[in-house]
């Protein structure tokens, strides 16, 4: 079964043409060339890919790992769309 991480990397590789070699869970997405607009767009793509509705005030995910944690938590608790955004690692 495809993992959340694999589905996210697929978006970044196919939609943003990012070299898969550069993708790691803790790599800051900003360092991959995603500017603020690209980050916002990524939220929409995540909604489409995972068939979820993210809260309108959600902050962009700083890393793939933070997105994985958030989405997995949503999947585990389907009604809780306002879950606190995982913070980037220190």
């Amino acid at each position: 079964m495809t993992t959340t991480y694999e589905r996210l990397t697929k978006i970044l590789v196919e939609q943003y043409r990012i070299d898969p070699e550069r993708l790691t869970p803790l790599q800051p997405l900003a360092a991959l060339g995603l500017d603020s607009l690209g980050m916002v767009e990524l939220l929409f793509m995540i909604e489409d890919e995972f068939a979820v509705k993210l809260p309108p005030d959600i902050e962009p995910f700083p890393t793939l790992d933070s997105a994985v944690q958030y989405l997995d938590a949503m999947a585990a608790h389907p009604g809780k769309t306002g879950a606190r955004l995982p913070q980037p690692p220190a």
Binding site: Q15, Y16, R17, L37, G38, V40, E41, L43, F44, E47, K53
Partner: protein
């Protein structure tokens, strides 16, 4: 009359870029215009059957040929067309990118409807599909100044970057306003013209509601737009972009630029009488203002590129206005209306038509007004009906653009008297 500073500078046209229903280079579009080959077709979109007359002039354009996926997603089709036409014009002018910008370069773009397709999609998503959301870049894609802003970003232009939206005269205004700034010394170079991408369901329905669109010719749909004809029934919507490089004359000469022509004059006048009904007085005033600013007498104009939409309202009024301005000379003036073959690109039409008119002068030919079997009784001038005509003697052309809202804009251009390569 347009007030220009003393000792005005000359303005050369040194680059042309075109994406149009007639072709995706100036040469290709010109070739089809001379041959009178119409690009008007019946639309084959899923929503076309819901239109009374699903006619359009479409551009054969695949965005992925020109933009990577992340960038293409941020661009409405109108910006895509504008950017590619601008690149083409820059290449044609042999200007290196990024430009050597000292704040004396500007972008002047006309568009009547901006990112209309993105708006249409957004409304469909919200109201029909009830998705509760629109594209993340919807604002950036729909805003009217997006095409000009993208050109400025790509070319790193830091001077004035302006958008003009005066409906069907938008790109005549953008070219004229750029011309003014070069002429009066504010700028040395401008990328100017227009872009339009209105071929989406909502926009076409809106035009249909206005009863301005042509009905389908029962024999040949491609001949449905018939400027100046007795059986004309309306305009055909089209998309495309045409960008020109305007350059101060000595600036162009100093770098050895090819000169396609000289933009000589620009006249602007507003009807202020009705939102859609054209006015003889308004159109004539714009033509006179263009002649004044060009320093031309009426009899020094050799040909006219007509607004010539093929609507019942326009063509008789335009004919009367030409006669008012040119008096007896009007009967000696060949008048071409190329919208018959490329359709009405709204805010991009004037720029495309100026390109075609310039190339016609360069090649010593008068472009035909196609589908003109029998002229309307109110249209009794020489419209160069149905066949191109050789006339290498003509060097100066007036190009008319009149708009809903009443903004009439007229350009005058001439070609240097050198043979076409």
């Amino acid at each position: 009359m347009i007030d220009v500073a003393a000792a005005p500078r000359r303005v050369a046209i040194t680059g042309l870029g075109v994406l149009s229903p007639l072709g995706n280079t100036p040469a290709e579009a010109f070739e089809h215009a001379v041959a009178g080959r119409s690009a008007i077709r019946l639309l084959e979109t899923p929503w076309a059957p819901q239109l009374h007359a699903p006619l359009a002039g479409s551009v054969a354009f695949e965005a992925e040929r020109y933009f990577d996926a992340p960038r293409a997603r941020m661009l409405d089709r109108v910006s895509q067309l504008a950017l590619v036409a601008a690149r083409q014009a820059l290449d044609d002018a042999h200007l290196q990118q990024p430009l050597d910008d000292t704040g004396r370069i500007g972008v002047f773009l006309g568009s009547g409807m901006g990112g209309a397709a993105t708006s249409d999609e957004g409304y469909h998503a919200l109201y029909a599909e009830r998705t509760g959301r629109v594209k993340p870049f919807a604002v950036l894609m729909t805003m009217s100044n997006a095409p000009a802003a993208w050109i400025a970003l790509e070319l790193a232009v830091s001077g004035p970057v302006l958008t003009y939206s005066t409906a069907c005269s938008s790109s005549a205004v953008s070219l004229g306003e750029a011309w003014l700034r070069i002429r009066n010394g504010q700028l040395d170079l401008a990328i100017a013209g227009g872009a339009e991408a209105p071929l989406c369901f909502g926009v076409m329905k809106a035009w249909e509601a206005l009863h301005a669109l042509a009905s389908i010719d029962p024999v040949d749909a491609s001949t449905s737009c018939k400027p100046f004809a007795r059986d004309r029934s309306g305009l055909v919507l089209a998309e495309g972009a045409a960008l020109l490089i305007l350059e101060e004359w000595s600036h162009a000469m100093a770098r050895g630029a090819q000169i396609h022509g000289e933009l000589l004059g620009y006249g602007l006048a507003t009807d202020a009488s009705h939102m859609t009904r054209p006015s003889i007085a308004g159109q004539a005033a714009a033509m006179r203002a263009a002649l004044d600013s060009a320093g031309c007498q009426p009899n020094s104009i050799g040909a006219i590129n007509a607004h010539g939409t093929g609507t019942p309202a326009n063509d008789g009024v335009e004919t009367a206005a030409i006669k008012q301005v040119f008096d007896e000379h009007a009967y000696c003036l060949p008048i071409s209306a190329t919208k018959a073959v490329h359709g009405h690109l709204l805010g991009a039409s004037a720029a495309l038509e100026l390109v075609l008119a310039l190339l016609a002068l360069r090649h010593g030919v008068l472009l035909p007004t196609m589908h003109l079997r029998e002229a309307d009784e109110s249209c009794d001038l020489d419209y160069v009906p149905n066949h191109a005509r050789a006339d290498p003697s003509i060097t100066t052309v007036m190009s008319n653009s009149f708009a809903f809202g009443g903004t009439n804009a007229v350009l005058v251009a001439r070609v240097p008297q050198i043979p076409c390569p």
